[in-house]
């Protein structure tokens, strides 16, 4: 006797587990009053250099720390240690992105109450990180001027999960014939109204705008936390 298979409706989010952990993290960050920003980019866009400058400059006035994701090495953590901020490495092995649970594990034993800012540097990749919420308050997607003006058009999904687009290495713009207007048009095409900052972590150009945005985000997240029930 044969039976037709029966269709059972399930309707469940496949990344529910990640989203639940991300929600827990977001709640924990809010309780602790720490603002969390994550950085995503392709390899070599200058995430680590930007992060090193960020930790050094913000570290003069705020308590800052970072988690850095890397496939295999701990080189980035060593570079970032020069900023004197506490830095922890998340070595993902062959995994091409960070997941909320990796952030949660990396935070074990850390007192978030002692921090104002926590930065999370994702693995260099513009595709895979798009699917994973890490509980961050702001996600920066970084594209360097050497990568061309059409990067947003090639990776629209990551631009649609990020909050701010950073055009990095702007000091090299002229040397590589970078067309800033064309790049801004590309961002606008895939994410109308997206906040964009052009900067150079090396020369300091544009860094004030970027740091001001972070400070405003910290302040507004603390005000929201204070008024929330």
């Amino acid at each position: 006797m044969s039976h037709e298979p029966r269709l059972v409706e399930v309707r469940r989010n496949i990344l529910k587990q990640n989203d639940l952990v991300a929600r827990e993290l977001r709640h924990r960050f809010r309780e602790a009053g720490v603002f969390v920003a994550s950085l995503v980019s392709s390899p070599g866009a200058g995430k680590t250099t930007l992060l090193e400058r960020t930790l050094t400059l913000l570290g003069e006035r705020f308590r800052v720390a970072a988690l850095v994701g890397d496939l295999a090495t701990e080189n980035d953590a060593a570079r970032l240690a020069r900023s004197r901020a506490p830095v922890r490495q998340i070595t993902t092995g062959t995994v091409c992105h960070l997941e909320a649970a990796m952030v949660q594990r990396a935070l074990e034993g850390w007192s978030l109450d002692d921090l104002d800012f926590l930065f999370v540097e994702n693995v260099g990749n513009l595709v895979c990180p798009a699917s994973y919420d890490l509980g961050e308050g702001l996600r920066f997607v970084i594209v360097s001027v050497t990568e061309g003006e059409d990067k947003p058009l090639k990776y629209p999904t990551i631009f649609n999960t990020a909050d701010v687009a950073v055009l990095s290495k702007i000091d090299l713009a002229e040397a590589v014939g970078f067309d800033r207007e064309a790049a801004l048009r590309s961002v606008e095409a895939v994410r109308p109204g997206m906040r964009t900052i052009a900067l150079s972590a090396r020369t300091g150009e544009g860094m004030n705008d970027y740091l001001a945005l972070l400070e405003a985000a910290l302040q507004s997240s603390r005000e929201t936390a204070a008024t929330a029930p």
Partner: protein, 114 residues
């Protein structure tokens, strides 16, 4: 390539659900939005590997691809997005940022044999 991680999550969810229902899963139905960040072909390729040596081995993965639908503030209407490279209303051309559909990454249903 994070589709293997996604495929493993699909297998975990389907096993959990099948355990509740009883029976053997012969097909798994997903809905994947164009903005979910998951490539259906890569997921299909990873799925077999993720199923190996589990009760789902041999099951089929059926993927429904979900196009992006946006809300145009100017037309005050939902519109299908024509291209991920151009977030503007296909009718009036206004920029659109409200995404109504297209981020889905959902296990919709299982086909179960007794």
């Amino acid at each position: 390539m994070h589709e293997l991680s996604i495929a493993l999550s699909v297998v975990d969810l389907a096993r959990e659900e099948a355990g509740r229902q009883g029976g053997r899963v012969c097909a798994v139905h997903l809905r994947i939005g164009a903005l979910a960040g998951v490539a259906p072909e890569a997921l299909l390729a990873s799925y077999e590997m993720a199923c190996a040596e589990t009760p789902l081995e041999g099951s089929r993965l059926m993927i429904e691809e979900v196009p992006v639908v946006v809300f145009c503030e100017r037309c005050e209407a939902r519109r299908p997005l024509e291209s991920l490279q151009c977030f503007s209303c296909p009718e009036c051309g206004a920029p659109v940022s409200r995404i109504e559909q297209g981020r889905e990454l959902e296990l919709v249903a299982l086909e179960i044999e007794q």
